[in-house]
């Protein structure tokens, strides 16, 4: 919500100034020592908050994160990622890949049941595949599944898919597709069905109630295919404003929320009574912020210029200044610590002398002594555009200053999202963007880097065209063996870093505060994040909220 973000910053700033001067709330809860040992016992209610309400709980149709955040507690997929982000079975006992790598056979676990006691079989899986590929449903995620040439169910526990040619991201796509019940949805229009607000799933929880604009309550599903979860109820309140969410967290009305760096590293550490009851977690997300060049515009077609700009930008300064140190510098488009991230690569250091030398080599000199470099009489000047995102705007300002030091004149423009996309990105009418990518767990990034993906509306809008990268991306899609695939993507990342079509600015941490009454959370977070074992989280009896008085 771009226009609101200015307001939010203002709100949070005035708010910080205010609470810094206030005395602390006192209540008897402060006397409880949350760090003591408690027996593990199931039950209780976990309350969290979301800024947006899901439009529906069929996530292949809804497509937004609010929807999948809830529906991933209700529906299973065939596969899932374990704590180290390796694939394992979810509904599936095991899966086999044929020797030509084109056919995958999934063997479902036995005795699977939906929450309404009907059996869950391969027919449901087939139905889900038909639904996601059905043109009428216009699912945004259809493209991966349209590559399946043949899907069949030899028996109720076996589901087999055959691809035209080997397609490595297939396994990841099956980990993302939530299996829907055929017996309730057959013949229904998925866009209007009441099922989206009253779903029946197979996972740890089922939907208990949904009060529009207020909250969604999930309760334990007795038929859960993966066994029972520890916590009885999950309540998600819808609180659009972050400051209001934080007040609710302080007042102990919600148990967890995502934080921004200021709350994480300034507000909570400064207040002992919050520190006493809140535990802070940080985990690397699957996203990064970058500065991308329009490679069809001069002089960004020259790799020396791109590298020079990379050397001229102090990435650590951006991490420290914009993210209060809660981010890391990256050298590949993958989450560090996972198998796809190439550990031998190092980011470009901050080296203005090298930047100046490279710019000189590319033909830029300051011939008129105004501090700005010129080539062929034209000053080196460009505009950075970004959407109205405070972090990106601040990063752009720091970049502007560093580039000025090496003699490049930069202007900054922040634009509302829809205009940003339709006027600038789709038309290719830009020099440089500061944007971010939030990525899936599969290493395939064909849509972003392959030279065939440059049409308006496609994602290679920077116009990157490198035959070597194209080839690696094509190979990576055909190789289902994880180790061989890893080599391909390590090479891909190395080539990308050398060619420098974008500059990685930072990968920020996801920051979460959770009330200390919630136990069983892995700290430090494993690669999959703290949420990977949320079914094992528990709230000891004596620490539970008095549910009668809960606001």
């Amino acid at each position: 919500m771009p226009p609101l973000s200015n307001l939010k910053i203002a709100v949070s700033l005035s708010f910080i100034l205010f609470i810094a001067g206030c005395h602390s709330p006192t209540d008897n809860k402060n006397l409880i020592d949350y760090n003591a040992q408690f027996p593990k016992i199931s039950g209780g209610t976990l309350i969290n908050a979301m800024t947006g309400e899901p439009s529906g709980l069929i996530s292949m149709i809804a497509g937004e994160s609010a929807s999948s955040a809830i529906s991933s507690n209700i529906f299973n997929s065939l596969l899932k990622y374990d704590k180290n982000l390796e694939l394992e079975g979810d509904l599936v006992e095991h899966w086999d890949i044929s020797t030509d790598q084109k056919t995958i056979t999934f063997k479902l676990k036995s005795n699977l049941k939906w929450a309404d006691n009907n059996p869950l079989t391969s027919a449901d899986v087939l139905f889900t595949w038909q639904a996601v590929t059905n043109e009428k449903n216009a699912s945004p995620y259809a493209s991966d599944f349209l590559l399946v040439k043949k899907a069949e169910t030899p028996d109720p526990q076996t589901f087999r898919v055959t691809y035209e040619q080997a397609y490595a991201p297939a396994l990841d796509s099956w980990a993302g597709l939530q299996i829907l019940p055929k017996h309730l949805l057959e013949g229904k229009d998925l866009h209007t069905t009441a099922f989206a607000r009253n779903p029946v799933g197979s996972h740890y929880y089922k939907l208990d109630s949904w009060k529009h604009g207020e909250h969604l309550k999930l309760s334990r599903n007795a038929n859960s295919v993966l066994g029972p979860a520890q916590i009885d109820n999950l309540v998600t309140r819808i609180i659009p404003d972050n400051s209001a969410q934080f007040l609710e967290l302080m007042a102990d009305n919600i148990d967890l929320m995502g934080l921004d760096p200021i709350k994480y590293s300034r507000i909570i550490p400064a207040r002992p009574e919050l520190q006493k009851k809140l535990a802070l977690y940080k985990e690397l997300g699957n996203s990064y912020t970058y500065m991308g060049f329009n490679l069809k515009h001069k002089p960004f077609d020259d790799v020396r210029v791109r590298r020079a700009i990379n050397y001229a930008i102090d990435k650590q300064e951006i991490i420290d200044g914009v993210y209060l140190g809660l981010g890391i510098n990256i050298a590949s488009p993958y989450k560090p610590g996972t198998r796809w991230s190439n550990p031998t690569l190092t980011p470009y250091p901050y080296d203005p002398a090298k930047a100046r030398a490279l710019l000189k080599e590319a033909g830029f000199t300051d011939s008129n002594g105004d501090g700005i470099l010129e080539r062929d009489g034209k000053p080196f000047s460009f505009e950075i555009i970004t959407n109205q995102n405070k972090e990106r705007e601040k990063s752009a300002v720091l970049i502007q200053r560093r580039l000025k030091e090496v003699g490049i004149d930069v202007q900054i423009r922040a634009i509302e999202w829809a205009s940003f996309i339709s006027r600038f990105i789709k038309t290719g009418d830009f020099d440089v963007v500061v944007l971010g990518w939030g990525l899936g767990l599969d290493p395939d990034q064909y849509n972003i880097w392959h030279s065939s993906q440059q049409a308006p509306g496609q994602f290679n809008f920077i116009g990157y065209n490198n035959p070597k990268i194209d080839k690696l991306l094509e190979q990576g899609r055909l190789e289902l063996n994880p180790d061989k695939r890893m080599d391909i993507y390590h090479q891909f990342a190395a080539t990308l870093l050398e060619d420098c079509p974008i500059i990685y600015l930072s990968a920020g941490y996801g920051l979460t505060a959770i009330h200390k009454r919630v136990k069983g959370i892995d700290d430090p977070a494993p690669p999959a994040g703290i949420g990977h074992n949320s079914q094992d989280w528990y709230i000891p009896q004596s620490l539970r909220r008095n549910e009668i008085s809960a606001h």
Binding site: I47, S55, A142, G213, A244, W417, R423, Q445
Partner: protein, 326 residues
């Protein structure tokens, strides 16, 4: 008139760049351009604007406000029932009562405070009472509502735990008895209602005060005093009735605001009202919802103006006679 309003708003809305497929969440490499194109075809967004307007107008003739693009195709205005008897409530149907209740309560509080304050300020014109009322009003007028809201939420909700911080109901609302339900609703509504009424006080108080000052200088007031009527009777029987006439206009003009709601207040207090609905719909380019709210809003504005005129005629014999003569 309504056709004109809807035509203009329809075109302005479609002039804004982007559509439902270009929101930030859709900027996802997993979602292909083809699937977005399919979505556009599904919603007729690929047709020329004038055709889209025609389609919309055709539906409007049967009072069909259509379905939202963004919210799982919920009906925009009123509930629908599908073949199995599942009722899907309309977006405006859900949001309008909440916003109306909050704003009517707020207006009632504002008026019940502003009228006495305005009278006192006029009677003690330039006295300390007048000056302190003016000062209080302007402080209220100048404080940004969201800031005051956050301060009070912190003080009343976090430090003291007297009032809930946000939301409409407690989580255990369903299990309460009727009396506790009423108490619960009122405690949740306290902050969202009181804060806008304080910040809205200044305007109406000034209106009442100035109206009162005007009236008190009229000859007939002097006459009333001269014939020895008590001050109380002069002010409340003779002066007040005339001084309140302009208020009818103000209230008439505030009717669109009553259904409009405030984005900022609704966002901070987590209230699913009209302001938030409209704001989100504009950001998502959810055309049917935007058009539905604008159409209902403009219809209600016209009704409000009409009601204000009628009320004026009822309250002021001069207007009434003027109407009768022509």
């Amino acid at each position: 008139m309504l056709v004109g309003i809807s035509l203009i708003s329809f075109f302005i809305m479609h002039l804004a760049p982007g559509d439902i497929t270009s929101n930030e969440a859709a900027f996802n490499p997993k979602a292909s351009e083809e699937s977005r194109q399919k979505l556009r075809e599904m919603y007729n967004l690929d047709k020329p604007i004038i055709v889209q307007y025609g389609l919309w107008l055709k539906r409007m003739l049967t009072l069909d406000f259509g379905q939202s693009f963004a919210s799982h195709q919920k009906p925009v205005f009123w509930q629908t029932t599908d073949a199995e008897g599942n009722v899907t409530e309309g977006l405006i149907q859900q949001a309008l009562p909440i916003t109306l209740m909050i704003n009517l309560l707020g207006l009632a509080i504002t008026l019940s405070l502003a009228i006495p304050l305005g009278i006192i300020a006029a009677r003690k014109y330039q006295g300390w009472q007048d000056r302190s009322i003016t000062l209080f009003n302007f402080i209220g007028f100048s404080i940004p509502g969201f800031w005051l809201s956050l301060l009070l939420m912190y003080w009343l909700g976090v430090v003291n735990n007297w009032f809930p911080i946000s939301g409409m109901h407690s989580l255990n609302y369903e299990s309460l008895d009727t009396w506790d339900k009423i108490k619960d609703t009122f405690s949740h509504l306290f902050l969202p209602v009181v804060i806008p009424s304080i910040t809205g006080l200044a305007g109406i108080t000034l209106f009442v005060k100035n109206g009162m000052l005007d009236v008190l200088q009229q000859d007939y007031i002097t006459t009333a005093r001269a014939k020895g009527l008590g001050e109380h009777k002069v002010v409340y029987t003779h002066a007040l009735r005339n001084a309140l006439l302009p208020l009818i206009t103000i209230i008439g003009l505030s009717i669109p605001g009553l259904i409009g709601g405030s984005v900022i207040a609704e966002t901070i207090f987590a209230i699913p009202g009209m302001g938030k609905l409209f704001y989100d719909a504009v950001l998502m380019r959810d055309f049917p919802v935007v058009m539905g709210i604008l159409t209902i809003g403009s219809a209600l504005t016209l009704v409000g103006n009409l009601l204000a005129d009628v009320a004026y005629a009822w309250a002021d014999p001069r207007v009434r006679r003027g109407v009768a003569k022509t």
